[in-house]
Amino acid sequence: MKIKKNIAVSENGFLFDPNSGESYSLNKTGQLIVKLISEGKTESEIIEVVKEKYEVETTSLQRYLDDFIMMLQQMNLLEKEED
């Protein structure tokens, strides 16, 4: 799982996709997860980092993360996975 290379994320959660010209806004947790994905972290590593920082239990976090990643895919912000 990789965020597309030329996507820019500002410090306050503004995300710009130069491929499509579309802009997005992220909340704090969304911002953190996008950062972790671009650092090349796996899903389980992301869960660990988020859990360390935030008060949240694994099952709900897993559910939210799945949903969030689906949104990123839907918005075409992730690199296609190599087969």
């Binding site: 802009s23 909340n27 704090k28 969304g30 920082k53 969030f68 949104m71 839907q74 918005m75």
Partner: protein, 452 residues
């Protein structure tokens, strides 16, 4: 180190270039309490989904409407439109406030009598009145609003058998300058049909024409249409005075006042665009006062307002069943309130909010009901916070028609609770059960046994 409060991750597409020129607020205000009673407590006690009615709001709205008319014209009489909400407790609130009953079927007529409304204070409208219905209405001295010539002839035939004079009015339809023009009910004003009907009634010894009735449409946003309607009824009244030296006791302007709900396709919310009772009252009473009806014979003004008196007092509470993603990435929320409970969602963009908000971020969401049917959509597109299974939602302004047009489909209709003026809750209609639903079924002998 203390951990931070978690918010679910959200990414929202920014739509630049299509600003709302009216600067409408998109902030969602949760409804956690109704008349100081917690939504959560109500659902825990009475089950989900749940209809809730506020007696305080019903009475306040009624008094506001009455005062708007009475301060302008002293002879005003409201008649509660049974079809809008005929739960007995609701009808009796209006009757306690002084409303008569306006019914449109034998079933509603029986309900009104059983509620203790004297027959002479029941207005009988509608195109479906059987011979038995008409006979009973004449016996009780009710006001029969004739819809068509066949009904008129029927009354001519039935009335002599009762030994009483039928008290009648005719329903008049007319062009009031608005669309659609309802011409399917009553006798037309412009083509002279109404006048013909009057000329058949007046000489008949078994009927007494005591009023005129019109109901120009529903959810009327133009108060002036009522002024036009009033003037036309007043013109007929004057003509009757001139030709027959007969003075009508009342003019009934029907209902049709808009509630603050938003119609589908409307650009602005109903709460911003809907005329006030004062607007309607000014139009109607102004036209009446300025008419040529003789001062000493000014008729009583009857009003059959339904929707605008009860919609605001009703709430439908429910719970989230699931979240889902649609193919295009949109969120869909499935709640336990379906179109079976919320019939009016076919024409309103209902105001729906969560009982509480954990997170302010909203997403473009479609809200579906629980029915296994594609038509079961509560809101097609709404900016809505992300809720979780079990979270509570509140739908506002559902008091009109939903508790009469509700459908019993695949599940039991839920409890209806009234919060009285002191803040006490009462079940005013119990939820259906397997027993109550099956009580009317009959299985022929040869179908009683099955073997699988």
């Amino acid at each position: 180190m203390e951990k931070l409060k978690f918010e679910r991750p959200v990414i929202n597409h920014i739509n630049a270039g299509v600003p709302d020129k009216f600067g409408m607020g998109t902030a969602i205000q949760p409804i956690s309490h109704i008349d100081d009673i917690s939504v959560e407590d109500l659902l825990n006690e009475y089950g989900s989904p749940l209809y809730v009615l506020s007696e305080k709001t019903i009475r306040e709205t009624y008094r506001e409407a009455l005062s708007a008319f009475k301060t302008r014209y002293p002879k005003v009489q409201f008649a509660w439109s049974y079809k809008t909400n005929y739960l007995n407790a609701v009808c009796n609130i209006f009757h306690q406030e002084g409303s008569w009953a306006e019914v449109v079927s034998g079933f509603e007529f029986e309900k009104a009598l059983a509620n203790g409304v004297p027959g002479s204070k029941i207005i009988f409208n509608g195109p479906d009145k059987s011979n038995e219905d008409l006979e009973r209405a004449i016996q009780h001295g009710s006001l029969i609003h004739i819809d068509h010539f066949d009904e008129l002839y029927e009354i001519m035939a039935v009335a002599p058998k009762t030994g009483k004079k039928a008290k009648v009015a005719i329903r008049v339809n007319m062009d009031t300058g608005i669309y659609p023009h309802w011409d399917r009910f009553g006798f037309n004003y412009e083509n002279g049909e109404a006048w013909t009907a009057i000329n058949k009634i007046m000489p008949n010894p078994d009927m007494e024409l005591i009023g005129l009735h019109t109901h120009i449409g529903t959810y009327i946003m133009t108060p002036n249409a009522y002024a036009v309607a009033t003037s036309k009824l007043a013109a007929l009244t004057v003509r009757i005075q001139m030709k027959y030296n007969h003075h009508l006791k009342y003019l009934d302007l029907g209902g049709g006042f808009a509630s603050k709900n938003t119609l589908k396709g409307a650009y602005l919310p109903g709460s911003d665009t809907c005329p006030s009772f004062d607007d309607y009252a000014e139009a109607i009473t102004g036209a009446l006062i300025n008419s040529d009806i003789q001062y000493e014979h000014m008729p009583t003004l009857f009003l059959e307002t339904g929707r605008a008196l009860i919609d605001e007092a009703g709430y439908l509470l429910g719970s989230v069943l699931a979240n889902k993603r649609l193919l295009d990435g949109r969120r869909s929320l499935i709640i336990d309130i379906g179109v079976n409970n919320l019939f009016t969602s076919f024409w309103y963009e209902h105001h729906i909010v969560p009982a509480r908000i954990k997170q302010r971020d909203t997403e473009d969401t479609t809200i579906y009901g629980p029915l296994c049917m594609n038509i079961d959509v509560i809101r097609q597109a709404i900016q809505f916070p992300v809720l979780e299974k079990g979270d509570r939602v509140v739908i506002k302004r559902i008091g009109a028609y939903n508790m009469t047009q509700w459908l019993q489909f695949i599940t039991y209709r839920p409890n209806v609770v009234l919060i009285d003026a002191e803040g006490k809750t009462h079940i005013i209609r119990e939820n259906e059960t397997h027993e109550s639903m099956n009580a009317l079924d009959r299985i022929p002998q040869h179908l009683k046994e099955i073997q699988l």
